[in-house]
Symmetry: D2
Subunit: 344 residues, 4 copies
């Protein structure tokens, strides 16, 4: 199991050792359930500090689809839909969880996984200006992810523009941060946690793909954005009985800058692999600064490389190429990156 | 945190040490996600063996409410409801998760948390005989839990009678085994895992309250009882990206009889406490053979005991008493049981 | 079809002739759709006047189950349930429409179909006082019907008490008035339309069972109680394209006191039948002042009477009797009531 | 109200006089409710005959959005979505009713409102071939409308190709026939009711826009396609208490060819208007053979024409034109068509 060189995804290992150690140390302590323990409270406080959002409500859920479904359901009224890129995770890879909750995903065309303030404004305006709008799904919030499904990131300028449209239109902005550590650590990134907290109405800081066994930290920067969110979480089956297991993980991730360190490890490896790919003449499907590299391979390249390294399949192109994903993570070892480079 | 003598619930600690050790040993291995790893497969096979159900489909979900909502939604058609005790977890303490999925809980009166084959038959027959049945919610399945919310257990005879009514009525029987280890380990229990697999159409083996960090193992004894259950799990936000974290836990629980050992530890402690309570003249609210003891205290008793030991609040009775819950678990130490007994 | 003497229900004929005539007269006029026509507006205004609720929002829907599901869904938040009598129409005879919309019906025991302010207060208080309330369905509104499923009516005193509990608890009170005409016309009734508008947050004035082809008029006495209710109606499939068909019917029902006249015709007939039943020694299952009479028959009585008159089956009692329903309506002819009486 | 020349929609009047007369004649007859009356049964039998589908199950619902939501919910499993044109009524103008029922609309690009067998095959195949398909919404049925939202019609060849893809893929084909009379009556149409019954698994024959006060007749050509559909209808709030009101209307529509006559009246008028528009140099937005004409007007044309005749607003084009809809119907008088033509 350990011998294959694998860059197939960023959730192939367990957890960052610091997390497991902390779980071990605290294992036999008795704490109250459902997140009312001291570890969860400490983690919440550290996240509030990291976000410079002292009033924030913070909740720990288990996984990404669950978090998206729960937050979106909590923010929307029954007759509203959520604006998202057609390639957004909620649009394409959550088995209809949003619709299962009763809401339409109002899909916009994307560019490299991103949507723009202009598109959102046009979507909202079109609804307002349509004489039949009362027969239509009302745009009720905006969903973006940072990084996107395509590994790209929004710049601060782009995020400010989107936030501004949302506030002008009085609809909340929600950011899916399943891989947020890998955006935060990019040299090219200028969107910090305090920036996100200032510009979004809700977001989550991903744990599952960023070094935790599981877990996503939902942040509502303004207190009581969603009254009774605890019960909504319970109703969605997303409430952990042993809430501290998530709390301890996020407490660890936000101690001594571990979350940033995790991001940097992945980005350093990805940057080296990217440089090597370009040097050796490989073609990238899109330019990404994060931990996911999308390389376009012809049939021979794909066969040769697949023999030596496991990658994630992304899609076949119309002209007979295959786009494969190379993902680094907190767990990527320097020597494995070198081994991959030597296979190119 | 460690000094208080606490018997408030059975999910106050982390996980059985054997589980944490196994997570630690396997931590840096790379495996595929979503339960397609070798640990999950090994766990599934061990559960099939333990249930003597070689064709069983086994899935690992995260928590109890989530599992109930997902399985019930998968088993029911849109116009059907689920029969359950009024005191059932799905009826009372899941924040309406079943209704949120579109289904009515058809509540029956309980005796000590249990419902009977006769009640179920009358409920189903009443629907069949009602001239207005097509305007009513059709009974579509039966939900029971073992042990029940009140810590009582169904005997094999009772379970066979219930199963027989369900099969005659062509509706599936589902058992919530959130605390199943604590039923299996009771001297009074005659319902084994193979018996459950033979008599139920779906059930889950609880991990969260029986020694795991989290996790519940859903078992459909007959293959393909629910086609596309994987997607249904995903749609409910119940699919773990790092599925192996659940798989490793259940693999450990079903190695060398750990699940039974966990049960026995709790029952031994509970039996000693129960005997001491009775000896000292305390009144039990209901007779339970499992790890939950419901003791009825007058105001003075409650105050005296609460000073020394943390218990779970259950309910106030009309005559001014309080029912408190004492719960033992896999983690209850012999000396803590003694300390509790010495406080009585 | 016309020869059988039938008192099986109050929706066996078409519509009051005045309604059909009005539909005929206006048939070829061209009007805008969806309730934006002048007839619907006139009907809304007449209803506002009849309710002494000049700010009321009024909407015309098609049927009772649809109206209940739409209004309840509009008034509740996702994690809330609706308090109702166990015998309420939404609890028992709407095929789970409320649960299909995601909400639990919090069922209270009834007395002759009615629930009390005290019961409601205890239900709401129990939730507030329960330490586990955040894991439970929050009582979010109260549903009553006037008359009830059992043909009984709330007195003004009872309704004021219920309304007072609701307002103190900050939850809306909704009245299902499927047969409201038959309550309004009872000599014993002291709850007028203005009283209902003053004490309820939403209610509907039944058309289907009170002389219309179909149609229920939803009244929210306070403007904008539910923003975007039009879209919610559309989403529930409850929006009539030719909205005027409902508008014309309610315009007619609220012209020259027709709605009251319809009620009186039914009550006059019912009162005469009731008196005759009592005189001849028949036993009534419950005392009802409205258009539904529930008579308890032994086997011989049932057979004899069923040969001569069609009644509605209600239920079998444990002691071998049958409760049959005799329903009068706007369409009951005086001579048919006499024929029925002569059969007793 | 009668003086304006209006072609704004096809649901501006009441009902065809033959329908009102029949309602009047039968008004005081007593019949059972919920569609169990002789008129509804007669209507069902006439529809079976017209469709040459002797085993068909036929149900009468009230409106189009309701019918679509009910049928689609009945045909799909919880994890499936419905394929439809992006411009389909369910995609755009039903306020999210399909998503409210838990299902995603899998939107395909359209050409003049239509989708092709090839597109459907590619959509289904893409799901089958996607390694992540179990994380995605499964295509579970196909929705088309005849005529489409753009007034175009599918040819028999196109419908056979679509049906063939559906059957090969084992997913049902459902046709929304809100304006079916206006397709059936087109000279260019070669898709008959028996053809639809042969090629579709479910469809509805529109009443509301084709001469009835309201009502849509759902046809499942094969018996028991959806067991318990009656209860599903009830749960969706779509069951008429006085079912005969719908039954009488469809009985009348399918007596002496009235449904076809209604179609022909509209098409004759539309054809004359279309010819006049073309003759006078107006530009049509798309070629439609049915009762809806979409004319592209520049600002001056729009102003001039709007003064004289009411049309429906369709959309603004990017180059400053407006597309307006002219709709004829069963109620369009020959002289009104002439008056319109004289305004051009």
């Amino acid at each position: 199991m350990n011998d294959i060189l694998s860059f197939a995804s960023d959730y192939m290992e367990g957890a960052h050792p610091a997390i497991l150690n902390r779980l071990l140390e605290t294992n036999m302590e008795k704490t109250p359930g459902y997140g009312f323990d001291a570890y969860s409270e400490a983690a919440r406080e550290k996240i509030r500090n990291a976000c410079q959002a002292p009033e924030a409500d913070v909740f720990f859920l288990v996984g990404g689809t669950q978090t998206n479904a729960t937050v979106i359901d909590a923010l929307l009224q029954s007759f509203q839909g959520v604006i998202a890129a057609r390639t957004g995770h909620i649009s394409s890879h959550e088995a209809g969880a949003i619709e299962s909750g009763g809401h339409k995903v109002l899909e916009l065309e994307h560019e490299d996984g991103k949507i723009t303030a202009g598109q959102i404004a046009r979507c909202v305006d079109a609804w307002h200006q349509d004489a039949n709008r009362d027969h239509m799904v009302m745009p009720g919030m905006v969903y973006i992810s940072q990084p996107t499904e395509y590994g790209t990131i929004y710049s601060l300028e782009e995020l400010e523009a989107i936030s501004s449209v949302c506030r002008r239109s009085d609809i909340p902005l929600y950011m899916d941060g399943a891989r947020l550590a890998y955006a935060l650590a990019c040299p090219a990134n200028d969107v910090s946690l305090p920036g996100i907290a200032r510009l979004c109405d809700a977001f989550y800081i991903g744990g599952t793909k960023c070094g935790a066994l599981f877990g996503e930290a939902v942040v509502f920067p303004r207190h009581d954005t969603v009254p009774h969110f605890f019960t909504i979480v319970k109703q969605h089956g997303a409430l952990l009985a042993k809430g501290r297991i998530a709390g301890i993980q996020f407490d660890t991730l936000f101690t001594d800058g571990l979350y940033y360190e995790i991001g940097r490890n992945a980005i350093n490896a990805a940057d080296r692999i990217r440089a090597a790919l370009e040097k050796k003449g490989y073609r990238l499907a899109f330019q990404t600064p994060t931990n996911q590299i999308f390389v376009m391979l012809d049939e021979k390249q794909r066969r040769d490389l697949s023999d030596k390294v496991e990658m994630g399949f992304w899609e076949n192109t119309d002209d007979g190429h295959t786009i494969m994903r190379i993902a680094t993570s907190w767990a990527t070892k320097s020597e494995d990156a070198e081994r991959l480079i030597s296979c190119l």
